[in-house]
Structures are given as structure tokens and as C-alpha cells.
């Protein structure tokens, strides 16, 4: 994380960034130098070196694209290309992205900026870029075939428009869209207000990330692009827990988080320990009258949400999608539920056929996180992450908001685990436990049942038994 502090030692000089060599010198003379990113780390905010000042965002496990000013026009250069994205330590995916990473760099501009974006296509097929949510001339909307010819491989197109309204936006291809989005072509866009805005408060920290999902066969690296619903990698900015960086803030910081959803399902994003307001959507800032405090907001497909909250509770606060499958990494969706099945004796039989067989799932799936058994190459465990009190048993769309009293302003470094004040951590009760009184009455129903089964079916809830500790 210290690297991020050096991120902008000079204008456009990026740690670990390299200039693309494949663009010709003639083209280079006219084009802003493309800047590539080789690391999946969260880079420090890019304080604007030129143009109108603004309060920059931090892209979770991402970065902001530097620009050059050319006669008052902000010029960016996006290079669409195949990339290898580390989605979590030990798990890399062959994706398509921009400037070395997927998702591409965040583009930050200020309301009223004239923006010129050069898009060079180094993909094996044509592409285009759609500026999702922007007001712009129709011919700049980036829909291949409809508003422009597709950008052929090796070609560079120029988009130019004025960023007319402040807000939270995205960019993604609109040519062979299904393939290119399934392969990770996307990026964030933030238009900052040029002056104080009645509906846009100033914040101390402004985080952005995109929700995206992939279907990567465990043991392989390239997403299956035909998948429609059964994704197995649920990611924020093409990262999965434990690969997603924590959101580190100072106590009493005003924090903004902007989330865009480019998956094919909705995501109820949930923050622990605080209430937040949804202060912006795809359409811009929300009217104050419509805001109410929430701890979960649903980000529907193709939508963006901007949430604001005051980080006034110290600690490590879980922050995640509340669809519990989305806080899991690759897992089998057809694996039968084994809870309550005692099969140690059968296990011996199975072990004679499959020597490395281990009993799992009799007590639930936590076995999986505990046992740390070898899994296929290049596969993130279904649930993992070692917290200060043991396995967090999470994957996918999960991170932690770390609120610290002694976090310096502008310091985004990970402060480590929270040191709980004495007496503020849940503890084991060691007194006698009285047998709870259980009601036997089935309760009144709304209406009498008909065609009941011949005899009562007793649903047995099997509880784990004590001696299962040693598997």
C-alpha cells in the first residue's frame, strides 16, 4: 500500500506503469501516451495535475487514468486489449480490459470539461466504447453499427464530448457486447461537480468500484462467455475476496462509495455498523426528500448507486453483497446437502477407492474453509480469508470498511486488524444453560388446509454432534 503514496510523484508517472510500445511514432505524436497498469492494487487517488481541481476518487483495486491537457481539452487514451487479471492471490484470469487491467482505469473529469478519448483496439475483434449514462451527441454514444462503425482491430477512434452533468458513470463496449462484457471490458467514470452543488456534499473519501461476474471453470483461466445465469465468480472490479482491498477510512470521515453493476443480476450491497443514504443514482444526485437511511441498497443490473455515510463507528465492518452465494467463490451448485449425514464408516469404503477422500459437509460447509485441502490449480477456494478470530469463510463480493481513529487524512493504507476496546468483543458464556421452553402449538393458519399428506411428516433438523471435530 505504500506504493500508492508514490503513485503520482510526477504527472502521469505511474508506479509499475509502462508505455505501450506497439503504437507507431507518428501516431504517438498525435495521441496522448497510453499508460498501462501492471498491478491489481488499489492505487492512491490521482490528484488532478491540470485542469479544474476536484476531490479525486479511489478505485478499489484499480486506478485512475492520467490525461493530458491539449488546448483546454482533456485527452485520455484507452487501449482495449487482452489482459491477465489477478482476481485474488493465486488466481489469475485471462480477461479483456483496458490499459493492462480489467476493469479499465477510472476516468475522472469535471462537469463542463471537454473530453477527448482516444480508443485503440488491440483486441482480436472489433469493439466500441459506450459512455454509459452520459449526455452526449448521439454519434459519440459508442453503439457499433447504430451510431458509429465498429473500431477494427489495430484502429484508433476518437470520442469527444463535454461532460455535461456531474455524476457516476461507466464505460463498456457496445460491439459484441455479451462477449466483451463477459470478458471484463468495462471501466468507471466519475464527473465531479465544477462548483459546490446543493445535492452533492463534499466527502473525505470517495471509493468507486464496479460489480462484475465471470464464469471461470475451476482449474482454467478464461471466462466462459456464453454463461447467462450460472456465474461462479462474483467480483468487485474483477477481484474476489480475499483479493479485494479493504476500504480504510478515518473515524468521522464522510465517506462516499459509488457502485456500478455490470453483472446480469442485482446485488443488495450491505454495510455493517452504519446507516447510509443513497445520494446518487444513474440519473445523478437524488433529491434530499427521497433519501432515507438504509444499511442495504439494491444495485440493479446496469445501475449505479452512490451511497454516503459518516464513518463514526470505529472497527472492522463487513461490507458485502447480501446474496449469500455472491460471497462465495467458485463452488458446485449441484453438490448435495450433506448436513446431518453420518458416514464415517462409508468414508472408509470410499477411501479405499479414492485414497485422498475426506468427509466434508456433514456439519455444513465451514469444513471447507477450515480444512484447506488442495483444490484445482488457479482456483480460489469457495470461502476463505483468515481474520483475527479465525476463518472469515467468505469469498466473492466481500470486503471490510476499516474505521480508525488514528488513520491519517488522505492515508489509504491498511491499518491492520481493529484493536477492540476491552469488553467489546462477544465472548463465550460459561454458565449453566437452562433448557428453553419450546412451544408445541403449530399456530393458527390463514385458512384450513386441504389435501394434507396422509400422515404427519416430521421435518428433522439435524444438529451437529459433538464428536465431529476430527475430520
Amino acid at each position: 500500500m505504500t506504493n500508492r503514496r508514490n503513485f503520482l510523484s510526477g504527472a502521469g508517472a505511474l508506479t509499475g506503469a509502462v508505455a505501450a510500445a506497439a503504437v507507431s511514432k507518428v501516431a504517438m505524436a498525435a495521441l496522448p501516451e497510453p499508460v498501462l497498469q501492471t498491478k491489481p492494487d488499489t492505487m492512491a487517488p490521482l490528484v488532478p495535475p491540470s485542469g479544474r481541481p476536484y476531490n479525486p476518487v479511489v478505485t478499489l483495486n484499480g486506478w485512475t487514468l492520467p490525461w493530458r491537457m491539449n488546448n483546454g481539452v482533456k485527452e485520455f487514451h484507452l487501449v482495449a486489449e487482452p489482459v491477465v487479471r489477478e482476481m485474488a492471490p493465486g488466481f489469475k484470469a485471462n480477461l479483456w480490459g483496458y490499459n493492462g487491467q480489467s476493469p479499465g482505469p477510472t476516468i475522472e473529469v469535471v462537469e463542463g470539461d471537454r473530453v477527448r478519448i482516444f480508443v485503440t483496439n488491440k483486441l482480436p475483434e472489433h469493439t466500441s466504447v459506450h459512455w454509459h449514462g452520459q449526455r452526449l451527441p448521439s454519434g459519440m454514444d459508442g453503439v457499433a453499427g447504430l451510431t458509429q462503425p465498429a473500431i477494427r482491430p489495430g484502429k484508433t477512434f476518437v470520442y469527444e464530448f463535454v461532460a455535461r452533468r456531474p455524476g457516476t458513470f461507466m464505460y463498456h463496449p457496445h460491439a459484441d457486447e455479451m462477449t466483451q462484457m463477459a470478458m471484463g471490458m468495462m471501466g468507471f467514470w466519475v464527473t465531479h461537480p465544477k462548483a459546490e452543488h446543493p445535492l452533492i456534499e463534499k466527502v473525505d473519501r470517495d471509493f468507486v468500484f464496479l460489480l462484475n461476474a465471470y464464469d471461470v471453470e475451476p482449474g482454467s483461466a478464461t471466462p466462459k462467455i456464453m454463461t447467462m445465469a450460472d456465474f461462479n465468480i462474483w467480483s468487485w472490479n474483477s477481484r474476489i475476496f480475499p483479493g479485494i482491498d479493504s476500504l480504510n477510512v478515518r473515524l468521522n470521515d464522510k465517506v462516499r462509495i459509488r457502485i456500478g453493476n455490470l453483472t446480469m443480476t442485482n446485488h443488495p450491497i450491505h454495510l455493517h455498523g452504519h446507516e447510509f443514504l443513497v445520494t446518487g443514482t444513474d440519473g445523478g444526485p437524488t433529491p434530499k426528500s427521497s433519501r432515507h437511511y438504509e444499511v442495504t441498497t439494491d444495485v440493479a443490473v446496469g445501475q449505479m448507486r452512490q451511497i454516503d455515510f459518516l464513518a463514526d463507528e470505529e472497527g472492522d465492518w463487513a461490507f458485502h453483497c447480501h446474496k449469500s452465494h455472491h460471497t462465495m467463490n467458485a463452488m458446485g451448485h449441484d453438490v448435495p446437502t450433506m448436513i446431518g449425514l453420518d458416514h464415517k464408516d462409508v468414508a472408509r469404503q470410499i477411501s479405499s477407492l479414492v485414497p485422498d477422500y475426506m468427509v466434508m459437509g456433514e456439519r455444513g460447509m465451514a469444513d471447507m474453509a477450515e480444512m484447506e485441502m488442495p483444490v484445482p490449480d488457479n482456483t480460489a477456494r469457495m470461502m476463505t480469508g483468515e481474520g483475527p478470530f479465525g476463518s472469515v469463510e467468505m469469498g466473492g463480493m466481500f470486503s471490510v470498511v476499516k474505521v480508525r481513529r488514528d488513520q491519517k487524512a488522505g492515508d489509504y493504507a491498511n491499518p491492520g486488524w481493529f484493536k477492540h476496546p476491552p469488553g467489546t468483543v462477544a465472548y463465550e458464556f460459561d454458565g449453566a444453560i437452562p433448557e428453553p421452553a419450546r412451544g408445541r402449538h403449530s399456530g393458527a393458519a390463514a385458512m384450513p388446509a386441504q389435501n394434507m399428506p396422509a400422515k404427519n411428516i416430521e421435518v428433522q433438523i439435524r444438529k451437529p454432534v459433538a464428536d465431529h471435530g476430527k475430520h
Binding site: 463452488m331 448435495p336 449425514l341 469404503q349 470410499i350 477407492l353 477422500y357 466434508m360 471447507m368 484445482p376
Partner: protein, 474 residues
Amino acid sequence: MKRALRSTAVAAAAVFLAGCASVGIDEALKDTNTHAQRFTGGNLALSRTPEQRDRRAELAQQLLATPLSQDDAVQLALTNSPAVQALMAQSWVDIAAANQTSRLPNPIFTFERMRLNSELELGRLLSFGLVDLILLPQRLSISRSQAHQAKLQLTGAVVDHVTQVRQAWVRAVAAQQSLHYAEQVNTSAQASAELARRMQRIGNFSKLQRARQQVFYADATTQLASARHATTAAREELIRALGLDDAQAAKLALPARLPDLPKIPREAKEVAATATEQRLDVQLARAQLDLAGQSQGISLLSTFIDVEAGARRDTVFDNAEGSKSNRRGFELDIRLPLFDGGSAQRDALNAQSLAAANRYDATVRGASSQLREGYSAYRTAYDIAKHYRDEIVPLRQAMADENVLRYNGMLIGVFELLAEARDQIAAVTNAINAQQQFWQADAALAASVMGKPTATGAAMASSGSEGASTGAAH
């Protein structure tokens, strides 16, 4: 004196000639042992005395004391099998019959006693076929040919039997090995069924889900029963080929697995280099052809002229005169070829010679073709077995390993894991079948090189085509 000398000479000649023509069974066995060294290991022996039989029994005991290798199985069959002993005995019969041909027909002694009035005449005629005597050299040679043929037939029969033993041994070991894997499949299916039963009991599975697992077990049980019988059948086939009695059969233990494939297969050149002339069937056809040629002359001649010469010595007692006088003379019987000029016989003999000549040609031509086919069967079996060993089984193993990893990651469940394990086992079973095909083809090719082709082509076509077990549990 002169007479005595003459009779002695005749007797000596007869003994000499008879001895010369005689080819004993021992010589034939020695021949077979030398000629088919690869097959008999020089151990073919006919036991005629109780001591010899005891020695055989003892050797059989020794061989049965440890798991029986393929070569030991051959030795056991050669020493122990009554069928092999019968083969040798039968060959002895044939050789003896051949020797018979070389013997001179015994001279005929005719004694006459005739009375005429006072005369008593005692007539003595010692006669024998002149033609037989003249043709003796030819008859000797025919006898040798027949004996040679008998020896070849013995060798052929032994090669046949040994090949049967080898193949039966391969089938028995392979069946036993496959049974082991069928048991594993059954164990896997049983585990699945038991898990499914418990899953239903605790409410995690529906009846249908349980039934799906149960049905694998039911099928696997049937297959296991079949495999058990197949093992028994193959073992009994071997027991018959070895000619074991009940006590010996109870002692028979087989190695757990088939021998590994040879590092390199036999070369086509090496096999083809075995001159077709060396092959038993060619030699046999050659012997038959020679025989036909030799017999032609002799049969024709003996049909044509049948000359019997006899020495007569009659003694006449004249009672009236009280005198005794001797008459001497000789007789010649000549068959006159008036009605049968021998043309039919000649035709038959010519036809026989022609047939023999063509049979010989056909055998020579067939022999090389059979060798090529046998080699192709051998080589294909080798390649398939090697492919199973080097490609399919390792792939299945890798898949099994990967599946364990996927199970570890809860990407697949235990039922899928077990289903994959069954598929892996099925692949191993196919590999064993392929290995069995190879060793059978190997035995067949060895026989084919010797010249007792064994049909393996048909078996080859159907081998190794079984896929992995279908219908996994997922």
C-alpha cells in the same frame, strides 16, 4: 551249409532292415522338444512306468506350490496333462504304424501233406513277394516319411495344446484381475447407495435421488456376479488345459496380474524372417506331397506286377517201396494285368499327387498370409494395450486426481466423485482387457510362427472398443 548261410543272411537282412526303418516315440519326443523348444522347453516326456508317473506328479506338486506363471503353466500341462500324454501315446501309435510299412512281409510257409496210394507227400513251400523285396528301399523311405509326418503332427498337436494353455492362462489371470476391479466398482456403487439411503433417511434426498444411486448398485451387483462366473469359467478352462485333478485344482494359485507388456514389440521383420519352409503346416504338406510321390511308384508297381517267389521242397515217402525222395524247385506267381491295366489306380494316384502338390502350394501361400495377419493382430493388440497403459489410464488417473481436488473445493459432491471413480475403474478394466488381448495375440503369433495358426483376428476386432461406464451418478 550253403542253405544255412543263405537263411542266416536273409534273417540278418530282415533284422537290419527292420531296425533301420524303426523310429521310436522317444526319438519323436526328442525331435519335438528340439523343434518346438520355445513351446516345450524340452520337457515333453511320455511316462510309461509308475516311477515316471510319480516323478511327473512330484513336478506338478512343485509347480503348484507357488502362483503359476505362464511358463510354469506350460510345463505343468506338459508334465501333468493326461491329454498331452494321450497325444504322445497316440503319436506312438502312428509312428508304430508307420514303422509297420517298412517291415518286409513275412515269408509264407506252406505245408502240404498229401497221400496217393502208398505215397505220402509232404510239401513245404517258403514263398515271399518279390515286389515287396524289390521295393524295400522305397518302402523304407515311405515309412520314414510317415514317421516324420507323425512327428510333425505330434509337434503340431503339442504346439496347439501349449497355445491353448497359454491363452487359457492369460484369460484366467485377466478375469481374476478384472474381478478385482468389478469388486471395486461394486464397492463404489455400494457406498453411493448406502450414502443415498442415509441421505433419504435424514431428509436430504428424495426417493428418486436415492433410487438413482440404488440402481447403480443393483447393476453393479449383476456385473459383479457375471464377473465372478467369468473368473470361474476362465479358471476352469485353464484347469482343463492343464489337466489338473480335483486336488491339484484346489491348489492352483494364479499371479495377481498379467505380465507387463514387453518394452518393445516383436519386429515384423523378425516374424517374417521365419521362413515359411520352417512352418509345421508347410512341412506337413511337404511330407504329404513327398509321400504321395513315393507311394505313387510303389502302388502302381505293386498293382501292375505282383510276383511271388517261393522255394519248394517236397518230400515223398513211398511206403510200398519204403523209399523217401526229395523234390526241390521254385514257384513264381505272377498276376496278369488283363482286366485291370492299372489305369484307374494310376488316375487316382496322379490325382492324389496333384492334390498334394496343390495343397502344398496353398499351404505355403496361406502360411505367409496367416503370418501377416497374426502379426497385425499382435501388433494392434500391443499398440492398443500400450495406448491404454500410456494414455488412457494415466488420463483417467489425472481426471480422478482433479476430481478429488474439485471435491475438496466443494465443486462436486461425493456422488459425482464416486461416479468418476467408477469411470476410472472401468478404464482400468478396459486396459486389462487390452493387455489380455495382447498376451493372447502373443501366444497366437508364437503358434503362427511355428505354423499352427490360432484364430485371433475375430477377437481383436471387438477388443478395446468399450467406452467408459456410462451413466454416472450426476
